[in-house]
Symmetry: C2
Subunit: 222 residues, 2 copies
């Protein structure tokens, strides 16, 4: 192994350069405003299909980065996505990430209402942090609950809808786009079956890095 | 959304049936001993490329499930993979999962030796849990450290080598296969660039479920 490539920061830089070169070879030009997010998702998956799959409402990245600069609160539908979000970037923005999937109150509420824990965790998140970024990488029921909450007035900074799977997943993501566009809520979706907690975390990290760069465009030493 | 599909357990069952049907449509017959792992990785990613990418040493799944039945200890190279491993399944096997990436001692050791935290965390894991399942979903340096430790006598129950990425990743996974085969250590690898912490967790979960089924083939109510 080449010594100059043995440190994580160098590896990331080189990886991004390879991704850029391969996009160019394929003749793909990413819209500048979304490029950081798309490239980070490719970096996380080595899957260039996300160039086609990722849907962004107009101005979503810029608006969310601005929002995160003021109030960097993210809620996720899995502890895995929470674990994947950069604590260094969150700290720079004085922010926080929450997941209520393992919360006893959420489990009780889900049982009581015959709902899923994912849906109940979104309800709790919306009560506590209505202006947060909601990042959903696993449960279609979480997305459908967010749609219902938006119909009733919830206006998050952004909804990231990237569940993965074979049942209810594609429909729930299309429904999310429809509802977010209806109420002008910024939205980022991985259309189709693909996605996952790793994608949710990657999108969040790209947004956090963009926000932190806005805050301090000189000190990029992280 | 169909009511009968709104609960996670039903969704998983239906998803697996869809995956099986699509594999059949594609004319793919999975080797029976590896099928549970391959299907769970597809379930986690909606990416059928893993049918081709996943490499298993002979008997790896069965041997590891037996080992986990006796000693269900897993170490990972990311907290994200750790978060994705089923705590319910671990509990059934009276097992545990560890990740030392955020460990202060590991950070100090990495700094002192000019190594990465991932490599240092593998050293610590190998000292504490030499017979564990080592699940690496992120860092090629962790895999290379494991290769070195195996050259010096380490004999884990299994090494899962599924880092994702563009730099050093492909080579480190091929090197892992070579070393594991040399010392008859069971190994599961996602060849090529693809992989990730989600894949590491999915492979572990498939193995844990298989082990728990061996332990109690009747009570599958989870």
């Amino acid at each position: 192994m080449n010594q100059k490539h043995s440190q994580p920061a160098d590896i990331e830089k080189t990886s991004m350069a390879i991704i850029e070169a391969e996009l160019q070879e394929k003749g793909i030009v990413l819209p500048e405003e979304n490029a950081a997010v798309v490239k980070r998702v490719i970096h996380t998956t080595a899957d260039f299909e996300y160039v086609e799959n990722l849907y962004f409402s107009k101005g979503a990245v810029k608006m969310t980065a601005k929002a995160l600069k003021e109030n960097a609160v993210i809620v996720t539908d899995t502890n895995m996505a929470k674990a994947g979000i950069s604590k260094v970037a969150l700290q720079k923005l004085d922010g926080a990430v929450y997941c209520f999937m393992a919360d006893d109150e959420v489990a009780a509420k889900a049982k009581e209402t015959g709902s899923t824990r994912a849906a109940a965790s979104m309800e709790k998140s919306a009560e506590l942090y209505p202006a947060a970024v909601f990042a959903v990488g696993n449960a279609p029921t979480a997305l459908l609950k967010l749609c219902e909450l938006m119909e009733n007035g919830l206006r998050p900074a952004l909804v990231i809808g990237v569940p993965v799977g074979f049942v209810n997943v594609v429909d729930s993501k299309e429904r999310l786009i429809e509802i977010c566009e209806k109420y002008s809520v910024p939205v980022i979706v991985a259309r189709g079956r693909k996605g996952g907690s790793n994608i949710a975390a990657a999108v969040c990290n790209a947004l956090l890095y963009t926000a932190a760069d806005m805050l301090d465009p000189v000190a990029r030493g992280w």
